[in-house]
């Protein structure tokens, strides 16, 4: 999926940066997400309400992220019913596979940001941590990285959902009009 962008020989940080953007901008990713979105929509009971649709869309987005980012893991794990056990189990397993396991959650923000150490900046960072799902107790550089990934993913989600909504509404409008015309004709 992300093979092209991640096979660069530069430093790991540059690799991560490149991944954050180019990963979500490719058309392949968008198609994958659209498919997942449709599946998720199908799975929701019709007439269940907009909240279920939104949850389905977010889960599909997190799935497309493949659990490589903190927020995606948080979304996916948040949806599971048996939360506690599965959280620890799946979270630990995934994390050990991908990154270094963090034994204790670091002190939020303060420990890692001496330069942006203004009170305003720290407040903003905390707000940002609340906005991005699952990133409250994250240090500043990680939080910023997650935020970048999240923003790119959100943009793709909005694009896909808008297209889907337009297409579906156009189709339904058409069908309705055609149906009326037909009934009139008949």
């Amino acid at each position: 999926m992300i093979s092209a962008s991640s096979s660069s020989a530069s430093s790991s940080r540059k690799k991560k940066m490149k991944q954050a953007e180019s990963k979500w901008r490719t058309a392949a990713q968008e198609r994958i997400y659209r498919r997942r979105l449709l599946e998720a929509l199908r799975a929701t009971a019709s007439g269940a309400g907009p909240r279920a649709v939104k949850e389905a869309a977010d889960s599909a987005l997190a799935l497309t992220a493949r659990g490589q980012s903190q927020w995606s893991r948080a979304i996916l794990l948040g949806r599971c019913r048996p939360r506690r056990k599965l959280l620890l189990k799946a979270g630990g397993k995934v994390r050990r596979g991908r990154r270094r396991p963090r034994p204790a959650a670091p002190v939020p923000v303060a420990a890692a940001a001496p330069a942006p150490a203004g009170k305003k900046v720290r407040d903003r960072l905390r707000v940002l941590g609340r906005l991005v799902p699952g990133c409250r107790q994250l240090s500043a550089p990680n939080l910023l990285e997650e935020a970048a990934d999240y923003v790119a993913a959100l943009e793709m989600q909005v694009k896909a959902m808008r297209a889907l909504a337009d297409a579906l509404s156009a189709a339904s409008l058409n069908a309705a009009a055609a149906g009326e015309a037909e009934s009139n004709v008949v």
Binding site: L131, A152, S172
Partner: protein
């Protein structure tokens, strides 16, 4: 300053400045003419006298200390119009300039004196007067202030050749124990550029220099590295969020980012409401087998080729199966038409004739649970127009 045509290569240091100023101007013209004439290739690299003549003092110094393959003549030529300014900028460093110039040109002391005087007189009058008198003794007796030559080229040449100058500067700076005030501010100014280089390129030297009065312990160094990481991530975010590149200041940028994230989330909510409104009228059973069929052909095509390969598959499908099973990726197709390939869609419609609109439409119609048999031609026209 009078533009002068005064003759006489004046070697006498009279009290008045006008002949010297005129001479300085003439000297500059000489330099410029020399540059434009003979400065095409590696004359700078050769380190010849005429080549050095063509350079302003600081660049000559740099070349002398670090004879790399040609301080590019382009840069020298570009700096020549500003040679006059550069002369003026070298307030405190004319000593070192003349000192450096002295090194290869043991015999041409007259030129050196002249150059020194011009650098002096290009600056303010008052320091020039005092230093002009003391210049000639200062020439020989000047202690080799090896710090200022590296710092000389540093601020001027920084935008052009960071890596080379950094090497030169670091090699010099490591040797010197004491730093003067001007050297300090130069190095502190050049240090961020140098640090950028350490984090960016792979240079042989990885010495990190601390400013004067700052501890060189691991803490501050690690702190600085961490800060750089954070700044790099912030820059990435700034690029991602539209309209953030103009804003300076971390707090405001973060504000913008937060606003953008909130607006995106609100859009998602709004769109989900819209989808929920459309959903009840959708027959998902129809979507079911369409999607399951779609997964196969879709795995083959890539993003841009999706449309083209899709059409090929439709053609084969029409040949293989009847209209009963619709093996189209219909929502995909609609989306492609919407966003990615509007032109391609029209050509596709043209090429495949009646069969294609049928396929295109059937999923849409099946989505709303309609019997496609009767209403195909009518709907095809309508959809074509809309999409």
């Amino acid at each position: 300053m009078e533009p002068g045509g005064s003759s006489g290569v004046g070697s006498g240091n009279s009290g008045t400045y006008t002949p010297e100023i005129a001479e300085s101007l003439r000297f500059e013209e000489e330099i410029q003419s020399l540059i434009h004439q003979s400065f095409d290739g590696s004359s700078a690299a050769g380190g010849s006298f005429t080549a050095l003549l063509g350079l302003p003092a600081n660049q000559a110094v740099e070349l002398l200390h670090h004879p790399g393959p040609g301080e590019p003549p382009a840069s020298a030529a570009s700096s020549s119009p500003t040679a006059g300014d550069l002369w003026r900028l070298r307030l405190g460093e004319h000593h070192a300039a003349t000192d450096a110039l002295r090194l290869p040109f043991g015999g041409s002391s007259t030129f050196v004196e002249r150059a020194a005087r011009f650098s002096v007189f290009a600056t303010d009058d008052s320091p020039a007067s005092s230093s002009g008198g003391g210049l000639s003794p200062g020439l020989k007796a000047e202690p080799p202030d090896s710090d200022s030559p590296p710092t000389l080229p540093a601020p001027a040449g920084r935008p052009r050749r960071p890596s080379k100058r950094k090497e030169c500067e670091k090699s010099k700076a490591k040797a010197v124990a004491k730093k003067s005030k001007s050297a300090e501010e130069n190095t502190s100014a050049a240090k961020p550029a140098a640090e950028e280089n350490t984090s960016g390129d792979k240079l042989p030297y990885v010495h990190v220099r601390a400013r004067r009065g700052q501890a060189t312990d691991s803490h501050s160094l690690a702190e600085r590295a961490r800060r750089e990481k954070i700044n790099a991530r912030m820059k990435l975010l700034q690029d991602l969020v539209p309209g953030c590149s103009k804003i300076t200041g971390t707090a405001l940028v973060l504000d913008e980012i937060i606003n953008h994230v909130q607006s995106l989330q609100r859009q998602v909510e709004f769109l989900s409401m819209k989808l929920a409104a459309v959903n009840p009228r959708i027959d998902f059973s129809g979507l079911d087998h369409i999607l399951s069929a779609e997964c196969g052909p879709l795995a083959v095509g890539s993003g841009c080729g999706g449309g083209a390969s899709g059409t090929a598959m439709w053609a084969s499908d029409t040949a293989a199966s009847t209209g009963g099973i619709r093996r189209m990726p219909p929502p995909q197709q609609i989306w492609h038409l919407d966003l990615v390939h509007p032109q391609q869609s029209s050509t596709v419609w043209e090429n495949n004739g009646a069969a294609h609109p049928h396929f295109l439409l059937s999923p849409a119609i099946s989505l709303v649970g309609y019997d496609p048999a009767g209403s195909v031609p009518l709907n095809s026209n309508q959809l074509k127009m809309e999409l």
